[in-house]
Symmetry: D2
């Protein structure tokens, strides 16, 4: 269960992110240490063969892991991505891209999250990518780049 006020802070922050909104991504679920984002397929997020573009997959995954981490930090603190690794597992073809970020370890300064990315076609989900990422927590009023 999330503390009162945390979900509001997480959703408000996501709504202020131009890039995710411009793509059309929405936050389909958020819980303590968990965040699910969903992005409908369109030409704007496709590569030349009609699959979701690798850069889009990474960007949505980065955001899902980031908000999973933020659910452990907000509203007093927030995180920035220090680094991630992504394996592309299959071409991502379907109606929507679903990214599920989970916090594996929430330390005082660093958080570690994994993100599963799936392409959804009707009720069927096919995993297309997997990420493992490190996030840096800082004071929400004086955010600081992880390597600053």
């Amino acid at each position: 269960m999330m503390q009162a006020g945390v979900e509001d802070a997480v959703r408000r922050s996501f709504q202020s992110q131009g890039a995710m909104l411009a793509l059309g991504a929405s936050m389909s679920a958020v819980d303590d240490g968990f965040c699910e984002l969903e992005l409908a397929f369109s030409e704007a997020v496709a590569q030349q063969h009609g699959y979701f573009h690798g850069g889009i997959i990474a960007a949505v995954g980065d955001s899902a892991g980031g908000y999973a981490a933020n659910s452990k930090l907000m509203p007093e603190r927030e995180c920035l991505t220090a680094e991630y690794k992504i394996n592309l597992l299959r071409p991502a073809r379907g109606e929507a891209l679903v990214a599920r970020g989970r916090v594996i370890r929430a330390g005082r300064s660093l958080l570690v999250a994994t993100v599963e990315l799936c392409a959804r076609e009707g009720a069927s989900l096919a995993q297309c990518a997997l990420m493992q990422m490190t996030l840096f927590a800082s004071d929400a009023r004086a955010p600081q780049h992880p390597s600053a």
Copy 2:
């Protein structure tokens, strides 16, 4: 030095990539095992604080590493990204993002590349990210996903 015909094949493939062109990225240099891409700053590639968006940085870096690898493979073969890791080093602010991909190891099936990403403001370059990636080589006429 590149073999005759390779640069043409690399540039032609890049020009057919909708996503990089839509962003406005251009291939400023290509050589045997090397590729430099450049992307001018605009609102469309920015995050909320006016820096280059992390997802954009990764997408351009992925492409720079990919075409560095393709310069070792084309026209008979081509590569797909199996996986990469990216460290975000500094907020990326400037007129343009410059991505320099270099092949570190070109094996028969796998290639390894690194990509340095810098923000350019006039003549000054500040490194903003570093990538290390693995690419899978396949026959250009029957491309195959790295994990297929």
Copy 3:
């Protein structure tokens, strides 16, 4: 369920690995796409503060992921590690180190696995590291380095 002969081939290969045996690691479980290794604590695997050494953690994890992948390939084929990423989550202190490798995606040439590493003290397990790795499958009679 594993095919007949696969478990034998996996265990025989593990028993021929000098390094894991020298450390004292044993294969506590193996199944289709899964492998669990266990290593008892000793001075020989410790760092200066009495925890399991980071290099040992990575080596056992690499092996657990590798044999999880081999369970999908042996006896006709076998894998070599192309690359991995490891996050160290907590100091690893306890009676034993337990590494659980799982295949996430088994392609024709590449396999992707994750490995959870825990320190065990009695019945209590504390996760100390997480790995995400890429393995290259080759013919068992003519093994070939992933980047060869």
Copy 4:
């Protein structure tokens, strides 16, 4: 150029590391943001085919990157490895393993380093692995795990 006292602190810390000494690794060079370690070949560091073992390569690389980072921090502060990624490029065969760690970015809390690993045979060096790693800086008197 390194500040007075830094090299002493770095070398003293390395000399107190049981694991690297036990393997027989030595610090062949250290400078501001740079560290080179060398490890002679022996059965104790080999895998079954007579190459340097992958786990040993990663452990020596981790240490080289760590002391490159420590050269930016010691004696007041020191670092711990948060995570790394390693690509294995070639079988590592030779008289000695040489690891060269370089700091790419030294932030207040996080440092990023790369490590080139080569197998040396006489005067010839063949690169066998490449690492990209993130280190967490903490007070030397109260060291703290990066994810604590």
